[in-house]
């Protein structure tokens, strides 16, 4: 078995055996989607809340896998000297990073394989969805969130990183237009929220899947900016030990 395959298998095993990560990447997105679709208490501004929630929860899933799950896992690996130990094997940093990226992509595929059918079962019927546009958004969003997650993981101690990632997750979830529309946020905060990576990704996905958002170009630019700046910052800030 090649080194890359071996490391990818180890990454996936680590994710599958970590119940907290499964809750974060799959449990919470599914619960939010189902609960707020059936209990119509969010000011979504749509006839059926699922039309607003489905793209937002897909964006949430990307953030969960690429930022929080990757960031927390990598942070603890750094604290427990797993990265240092792997650094003395023939694996090399390049293959380690590729294995981590592939594992995030595979987790996202599983998330979408669950979330999209659940959304359809809840009555989601997107009008002329642009799946390729959404896929591009997911790829760029993954880069942005992975960069942010690794910035924190590469600098903070394991436990502090855990708290920081979870805190950031909550802020980006609440302000990112995923479950609460930007229009319901106070004026100044709404502008800030749209500049967040979560805000940009939820706008990109909502536009691609529902054609209901006109802020596509600016959202794309913001998301692309995060996708360049965050990985670059992670490369500069990351400490392997």
């Amino acid at each position: 078995m090649s080194m890359l395959k071996a490391q990818l298998r180890a990454e996936l095993q680590a994710t599958m055996r970590n119940s907290e990560q499964l809750l974060l990447t799959l449990g919470i997105p599914v619960m939010l989607l189902v609960f707020f679709s059936l209990v119509d208490i969010l000011p979504t501004g749509t006839t059926d809340p699922i039309d607003f929630l489905a793209p937002g929860v897909l964006a949430l899933a990307v953030m969960s896998a690429a930022m929080v799950s990757l960031g927390i896992g990598t942070g603890f690996e750094r604290s427990y000297k797993v990265l240092k130990r792997l650094g003395t094997t023939p694996l090399g940093r390049g293959r380690l990073i590729v294995a981590k990226i592939l594992s995030v992509v595979m987790v996202e595929l599983v998330q979408f394989a669950v979330l999209i059918p659940v959304a359809y079962a809840l009555g989601w019927r997107p009008a002329s969805p642009q799946w390729l546009g959404a896929l591009a958004g997911v790829v760029v969003g993954t880069m942005a969130f992975a960069g942010i997650g690794l910035c924190l993981a590469g600098r903070l101690r394991g436990e502090i990183n855990l708290a920081a990632q979870n805190g950031l997750y909550l802020v980006l979830l609440l302000l990112g237009g995923m479950v609460i529309p930007f229009s319901k946020l106070p004026g100044g905060l709404s502008s800030v929220a749209k500049a967040l990576p979560s805000g940009a990704l939820s706008q990109v996905l909502r536009n691609a899947l529902t054609q209901s958002d006109s802020a596509s170009t600016s959202a794309w630019l913001i998301l692309a900016g995060w996708a360049v700046v965050a990985p670059a910052a992670a490369t500069r800030l990351f400490r392997w030990e």
Binding site: Q13, Y80, K81, V82, K84, T88, T89, P90
Partner: protein
């Protein structure tokens, strides 16, 4: 050509000089023990040899390669055991052994590897459920997965019980007998004394002794014994014509060789002093260290 050559190595962390112009060699087929207290510079030196850390100045060659510029090539022939950690808490023993066997690609069977370190019955256990000694044995197994030509083992017996220590000692000896250059960093002098062919003693970033155990202990014979704590030291010293020192708790040491044992036992019998734990011969490594550093580990 030695398997490991460290020449005038300096490692600085800001203003702190962790390794101060250190030079030594480690041969293939031998166990080289790098000894010294915590913070003496052992781990920093070994990390430079592994290619993990950059030197401030000086040169290091491992298996004829520069660890900094040829780390990828070197890593295929190098086994490493960290002082602690190195495995995720949730990882299963069997999975982690399989991963490292695949990464090194030397055809090592993970089950056989775990059996060799006595962990074959823990194959489905997670790392967090292992005892301290079992963790050390797993870490050693991961180094063995490389079928290494050079092995850097950092504190391999730390926290390991007596049975585990014997097992690890046996594996280390076998590795060296197969031609591997084993570099073993430890602050446990007893372990080094039992397994090392060559000893390098670090103190405050510098090497203060370098040689075989016989080299370091030669010319420093002693007689140790226990008797009543109120022993008349000066009188005994005069009778034997040798210096006698009290070590505490009724233990004494005479700087002299075994030919003075007869005179000692006779004197003790004449003075109705008890005698226990009599040992005569070359100094223990701990005594060598104390003599050289004037301090304890």
């Amino acid at each position: 050509m030695p398997a490991v050559e460290v020449d005038d190595l300096v490692v600085r962390y800001g203003d702190l000089v962790a390794v101060d112009h250190v030079s030594f060699c480690a041969e293939a087929g031998a166990v080289t023990a790098v000894l010294g207290p915590n913070g003496a510079g052992k781990t920093s030196t070994i990390e430079v040899c592994e290619g993990y850390r950059s030197a401030t100045s000086g040169s290091t060659t491992v298996l004829g390669m520069n660890p900094q510029t040829e780390q990828t090539k070197l890593s295929k022939r190098m086994g490493v055991m960290l002082q602690e950690g190195g495995v995720s808490l949730g990882a299963r023993v069997g999975d982690i052994a399989r991963l490292y066997c695949d990464l090194y690609g030397k055809g090592v069977n993970p089950s056989a590897l775990l059996e060799s370190v006595g962990l074959d019955e823990r194959i489905r256990s997670s790392y967090r459920r292992l005892s301290g000694g079992e963790k050390q044995r797993l870490s050693l197994a991961l180094a063995l997965a490389a079928r290494p030509d050079v092995a850097f083992l950092d504190e391999p017996t730390s926290g390991v019980d007596i049975t585990g220590r014997q097992l690890i000692r046996g594996i280390v000896r076998e590795l060296a007998d197969q031609g591997c250059a084993v570099v073993l960093a430890t602050h446990e002098l007893d372990e080094a004394e039992r397994v090392a062919d060559h000893v390098v003693i670090f103190d405050r970033g510098r090497i203060i002794a370098d040689g075989t155990l016989d080299d370091l202990r030669s010319g420093h014979d002693e007689i140790r014994f226990r008797t009543s704590p109120t022993l008349a030291l000066a009188e005994l010293s005069t009778a034997l014509g040798l210096p006698v020192r009290a070590l505490g708790d009724g233990e004494f040491v005479i700087d002299g060789d075994a030919q003075h044992v007869g005179a000692l036992t006779t004197w003790l019998a004449q003075h109705n002093e008890p005698l226990a734990d009599l040992r005569a011969g070359r100094q223990r490594l701990e005594d060598v260290f104390l003599r050289l550093t004037g301090g304890a580990l």
